[in-house]
Amino acid sequence: MADPILSVDGVSKAFGGLMAVSEVSFSVQRGEIMGLIGPNGAGKTTLFNVVSGYYAPTRGKVVFDGKDVSGKPPYALAARGIGRTFQVVKPFPGLSVLENVVIAAFLKHPRRADAEAHAWKVLEVTGLTDRAHEAASSLTLAGRKRLEISKALALEPIFLLLDEVVAGLNPTEVDRTIELILALRARGITILIVEHIMRVIMRISDRLVVLNFGEKIAEGSPADVAANPAVIEAYLGEAHA
């Protein structure tokens, strides 16, 4: 456990009097898939927004790739190698699928021709080549989630934050997305993923962090976490613990 790519160190995030995330600490090792789970309102997305720079932590710090990046804006973190998707997808609806991805590719390829060439490669990986010239607004939900991943990938990140990229997809699409995520890990990208569908997260994660009411209640392998009484209680209520 010598070389974490991300260390979340005692991070709290308060909105007024509400502690959305409270004193959470964990590390993600290079090359692993770390799952972040918890019931609705547990603070998963808030934590994502802290790690990706959309919120500055109220307390604690975020260390990425050896540097303290707490409070750095999202575009600075993107430049350092963090790519993220949004739970509520954020396509640029009036632009084409290709243009959506080209914009992200500008980060590493400032010339337009190079960015376009790179965007085509990304679309091939994510399977959106056929839709490249259609408006992003014409995509189905599954397509939009793929586009979301495509844009994050076009940044050529070393670390990818995936926020519910599977939820809402049909079983075939779920399997395709899982394959894609595993393929990305095989390319050496470290992944932190939030997901509600247990079957998915248990299958692809190397380790899990469990949040409940903003606090970390468990951390470990999927099997350990599934057997943890605190986790079972959080999900199913006291009677089952």
């Binding site: 808030t46 994502f48 632009l95 243009e99 914009i103």
Partner: protein, 327 residues
Amino acid sequence: MRDRRLLGSLAAFALLLALPAVVRDTFFLRVSTEAIMWIGLALTFDVLAGYTGYLNFGHSAFFGLGCYTTAILMVRAGWPFPAAAAAGGAAAAVAAVVAGLPTLRLRGAYFAIATWALARGIQQLALMMTITGGPDGMRLPPFLDPKFFYYVMLGVVGATFFLLWFLLERAPFGLKLKAIREDEQGAKALGLNPTLLKIQAFVLSAVPTAVIGGIFAYWVTFIDPASTLGDLVSDQALVMVVFGGMGTLIGPVVGAVLIFAFKTVFWAYLAEYEVLYVIILGAAIAASVVFLPNGVLGELLYRRGPRKPAASEPAAPVPATSGKAEV
């Protein structure tokens, strides 16, 4: 395809260059100069409105700033015209940064109101100061050479068009601005710094506007706060851009030519029905917004389904940075 369109634009520019050699009618030359001026003002308005998604109702302030900087430097400091007009552009660049930093944090109607209020404030300032001549305005040294002004206006507007074409249609800058327009929070995650990009767009919109204002001031030889700092420039530019087609470069050109031609013809033959002009114009705009949401150009050239307006902010897990800013 894109390059063919550029060739068309270059051909049109060459034709316009040759125009004074063919047409000797001074009235026509004057009308053409003003039409070209409006093309420039509509184009620069579209940089913010169409490409970046910000309706700048303070566009007239940059035009007026150019008028007054040029007039003051020429009349009170004896500067030659080119230096004075360039100084107007530089003043607008500074003003765009200063005004943009607070106002570009706002979105939608709030930005429109803030820029409108700022423009009204500047107009009041021009009315109160002595260096501007107050409500009486300023007279510039007359230089009565219609061809000179035609060429200068064409040169500046042409240079602006091709600069914008390169930056917005060829270089990455245009797509980055569109990303801001479509979803600012999403754009941040892709490494784009919205504040920096919006300020750059603001400067890009303001500088040519002020230089055009400087030419206008020297050309008409008389400026006052009502004619140069009033709402007319912003309103008319908005109408031209919406009518022609937002978010394109040809759209504002088409819109400016059509609206300006209509206005000129109307005022030439039906001047006593001036009120009617405003009514017809208003009706045309309302109709174009309803029936031609992509503008005349969008309807004629692209013929695709109506583009959805920039999506309203979803209830996304993004921070409400500063109150109104997210509306």
